[in-house]
């Protein structure tokens, strides 16, 4: 980009926007907030280093995910993105429980409708399905903390083990 229209990053950093500016393709001047928030959370030099280490075709995605994480951190300075994971894992757990209940209901219906079939055959087929659903809960948050002070002020299920 020439000197006539610096990208959002160079505008914020008050510097000349070189034509090979690494930020320019991803932080256009018409969206200053995008760079501002990434700079606030990660810092311009860190973002520059991260982008430089990536092949060009992956940089746009990297910027999008950095913007997402930065927004999450600004909205929730304590938990950041981790708060979103907590919420989503709760949703998955609830859905898995509902699915397990529905499958148990199907099992009962099948047992009522087909009393001629050996009970153990119907039960073992659907129980294995139930077990696979219940054990399929994601366990993404499992890290050791030096602080041991991980509480959940939103009163959701604790995810740290």
């Amino acid at each position: 980009m020439g000197g006539s229209s610096p990208c959002a990053s160079c505008k914020l950093l008050r510097r000349r926007c070189a034509k090979d500016c690494i930020f320019a393709p991803y932080f256009p001047s018409d969206d200053p907030h995008k760079f501002a928030i990434v700079h606030k959370v990660f810092g311009a030099s860190n973002v520059s280093k991260m982008l430089q280490e990536l092949p060009i075709h992956q940089r746009a995605d990297a910027v999008s995910s950095l913007v997402y994480e930065a927004n999450a951190r600004v909205r929730d300075p304590v938990y950041g993105c981790v708060g979103a994971i907590s919420y989503l894992q709760n949703q998955v757990s609830q859905l898995q429980m509902q699915l397990a209940v529905a499958q148990a209901e199907i099992l009962c219906i099948q047992m009522q409708q087909e009393p001629a079939l050996p009970t153990h055959q119907i039960v073992s087929d659907d129980r294995s399905l139930l077990h696979s659903n219940l054990s399929n809960l994601p366990q993404y948050l499992n890290f050791a903390s030096t602080s041991n002070v991980i509480q959940d002020p939103l009163k959701r299920e604790s995810l740290w083990t």
């Binding site: 990660f42 030099s45 999008s64 995910s65 994971i85 859905l95 199907i106 099948q110 991980i150």
Partner: protein, 137 residues
């Protein structure tokens, strides 16, 4: 904190660790990789700013979360933590679909049962009518 017991942050930054160093409680010298990881992604001054803006009782959790996010970003420099969020969204969609299918099956079985009951009732009525007719003959 004396020079000989600098926290991991001050050791990494090669500076004196003061007794009120804000980073010391969350980046102990026993775990230097923790600070190195967070510093690589967020930078020392951003970490300090973020922690300073928080009440003391929330800083430990914030430091843990930053470490977790930074670790994810180091492992996956393109998507970082967002990859996990994306996977969870996918899992929600798949489970919702499965739940809808299972509930559909329940509704189907329920309809079958009602239909079966209706047919039984109708046959019984016809049988009774036939018996009454024969008896009257």
């Amino acid at each position: 904190m004396a020079n000989s017991t600098r926290c991991a942050a001050c050791k990494y930054l090669r500076r004196r660790c003061s007794h009120d160093c804000i980073l010391a409680s969350y980046f102990p010298s026993t775990n230097p990789e923790r600070f190195a990881c967070v510093h690589k992604i967020f930078g020392a001054s951003n970490i300090t700013k973020i922690l300073q803006q928080l009440p003391v009782h929330q800083r430990a959790v914030a430091a843990d979360c930053m470490f977790f996010e930074a670790g994810s970003r180091v492992r996956d420099p393109v998507y970082g933590f967002v990859a996990i969020i994306s996977q969870l969204h996918q899992q929600i969609i798949i489970t919702q679909r499965e739940l809808a299918e299972t509930q559909g099956q329940i509704a189907f079985y329920g309809a079958q049962q009602v239909q079966g009951l209706k047919q039984k009732t109708e046959s019984r009525i016809q049988y009774n009518e036939t018996m009454c007719f024969n008896a009257s003959q």
